[in-house]
């Protein structure tokens, strides 16, 4: 579904992604794990078109979308839930969700998707008219996810959905990610919480200072000594 071939991304002189390649198949949950500053968010931003790769290809459903404008990428079916949620704090929950469907014109289906999102996140329906800046961190995460789903993506990119959330809430969020996946949305999940991420993923990639250093099925990586030491607390 998504095939990234040898992309190189720079911030000025800093070489942030060094020849990264990665594959995602239809229907999978793929996770990308790595430490702070390894290049995880950079990769998601590049897929979404916020950053342009200097070289390399990003093939999504047989079309090279590398360096295309973000709105074209959203239109093709890739949505991102950015790190730190980035909800529009000065707007209501409902308005945030409307913006998620910004490029769509199918009013009837948009209404249905509102219902679907509210079913997935009943809390959001209760707070429909509330300014999203007044929501708790967990609710904002739900809103950011709901907002991305309003674009009806075929591939959903999630950047650190567990960041700053209480453990119980993290479990809920991950359960919902699995639910979203079951409805047919392919998922690329970026996480520092490698343990949680590997527990729901089919496959995983490990990124270190801009390079993919390991990949394999989630089970394989969970059992690898090297990965356990570096990312799972060495137990």
């Amino acid at each position: 579904m998504l095939k990234i071939n040898d992309i190189n991304v720079y911030y000025g002189n800093i070489h942030a992604l060094k020849g990264v390649s990665l594959d995602i198949n239809q229907g999978e949950i793929v996770t990308l794990i790595g430490a702070n500053g390894a290049g995880k968010s950079t990769l998601l931003k590049t897929i979404s078109g916020l950053l342009k790769p200097k070289t390399g290809e990003i093939i999504f459903e047989n079309v090279n979308v590398a360096g295309k404008l973000p709105q074209l990428i959203v239109k093709r079916g890739i949505s991102q839930v950015p790190e730190g949620r980035r909800v529009f704090a000065n707007m209501t929950v409902e308005e945030n969700l409307e913006l998620g469907a910004y490029l769509r014109k199918d009013k009837k289906e948009i209404r249905e998707d509102f219902d679907k999102v509210y079913q997935l996140f009943p809390r959001l329906e209760e707070r429909r008219k509330q300014l999203s800046g007044t929501l708790s961190g967990g609710e904002q995460q739900m809103l950011a996810m709901g907002r991305a789903l309003m674009a009806r993506p075929r591939l959903l990119l999630l950047d650190e959905p567990s960041m700053g959330l209480a453990p119980l809430l993290v479990k809920t969020i991950f359960r919902i990610i699995e639910e979203i996946n079951k409805t047919g949305t392919t998922i690329l999940l970026v996480e520092q919480n490698a343990h949680m991420a590997l527990s729901i993923a089919d496959r995983a990639y490990v990124i270190e200072t801009g390079k993919i250093v390991a990949d394999g099925s989630a089970a394989e990586l969970s059992n690898s000594d090297q990965i356990r030491k570096a990312y799972l607390g060495g137990h």
């Binding site: 078109g49 709105q71 980035r86 529009f88 000065n90 707007m91 913006l99 800046g133 961190g137 991305a148």
Partner: protein, 292 residues
């Protein structure tokens, strides 16, 4: 008492002009974090377009107003595309200096094209003066108020109810997040300049009617005062610009009425200094805390 009400009426008329100009400042600042110092000159161009529409094309006040607004909208978008867009990723000071350059270019370009002499504005307001309990409300004042209120209500509607308005708020809050929604940021910024400039154009026409003369440098002082009004209300906040403008107008009227009319122009800057000292975020501004 009558004197007091009279001054408030005068202040509100003047203030609504400031408010209309201030809205453009604040909207543009909200979205690209740029103080568009050429905004006062768009106001001036609007006044002249209104003048030519009325004098040479013999149009009524409302067609003149609409033509002026439309022309200023296009003018504002052109300024943004030509002067500011190439600098979007440059430092803010570079963009600010460019804005001052654009301002001078429009002022002296206008002088080059038509000369620097002032122009008498035709009085085409179809309304008579109104006398209520000893307070005289001129036809011009009523016109100014009516036009301002209609435009502000329209603006609120656009910003809160339409798709482009929601896109504008989203881009002004978080440009990257807005891009992730599929919002075309360039078009949204153009639309913001168009709307802000159209309001300035309308303000130019009603300013001409109220003060009866216009000239190519007329935009400087009202432009600066509108900037103060925008800061007073809290820059980037739309209701703030409205309230800031009205408040500044009323303050100015009172200063004049108290016999300090020579201080009129100075008082706006006293207000600016005070607000920066006491409440830098403006009356409506608040320091937003981020939730983690």
């Amino acid at each position: 008492m009558e004197q007091l009400i009279q001054q408030i009426v005068n202040g509100i008329s003047l203030g609504s002009i400031y408010a209309l100009i201030a809205l453009g400042y604040t909207m543009v600042y909200g979205i690209v974090k740029l103080i568009n110092f050429a905004h006062g000159d768009v106001f001036m161009v609007g006044a002249f377009i209104g003048f030519y529409s009325i004098s040479y094309f013999h149009l009524g006040i409302f067609p003149a107003l609409i033509i002026s607004m439309a022309a200023c909208a296009v003018f504002g978008m052109l300024i943004e595309r030509i002067a500011y867009k190439p600098l979007r990723n440059a430092t803010r000071i570079a963009a600010l200096i460019t804005a001052i350059g654009v301002s001078l270019f429009i002022e002296y370009g206008t002088i080059y094209l038509r000369g620097a002499q002032p122009q008498a504005y035709p009085n085409v307001v179809p309304l008579h003066d109104l006398k209520i309990f000893g307070v005289v409300i001129s036809g011009q004042s009523i016109m100014i108020l009516a036009v301002s209120i209609i435009l502000m209500v329209l603006l609120q509607f656009i910003v809160h109810r339409t798709k482009i308005g929601k896109a504008m708020r989203a881009v002004s809050h978080d440009m990257d997040a807005a891009k992730l929604m599929g919002i075309n940021v360039n078009n949204t910024i153009s639309a913001t300049f168009a709307i802000g400039s159209a309001l300035a154009g309308a303000a130019g026409v009603i300013f001409g009617m109220y003060y009866t003369t216009i000239d190519p440098l007329m935009g400087i002082i009202p432009g600066l005062k509108a900037f103060v009004a925008a800061v007073l209300g809290g820059i980037g906040i739309i209701p703030g610009a409205m309230v800031g403008g009205l408040l500044l107008g009323v303050i100015e009227s009172f200063v004049s009425a108290a016999g300090f009319s020579l201080w009129r122009d100075g008082v706006a800057f006293v207000v600016l200094i005070l607000i920066l000292l006491l409440r830098p975020a403006g009356l409506f501004g608040k320091n937003v805390k981020e939730k983690v």
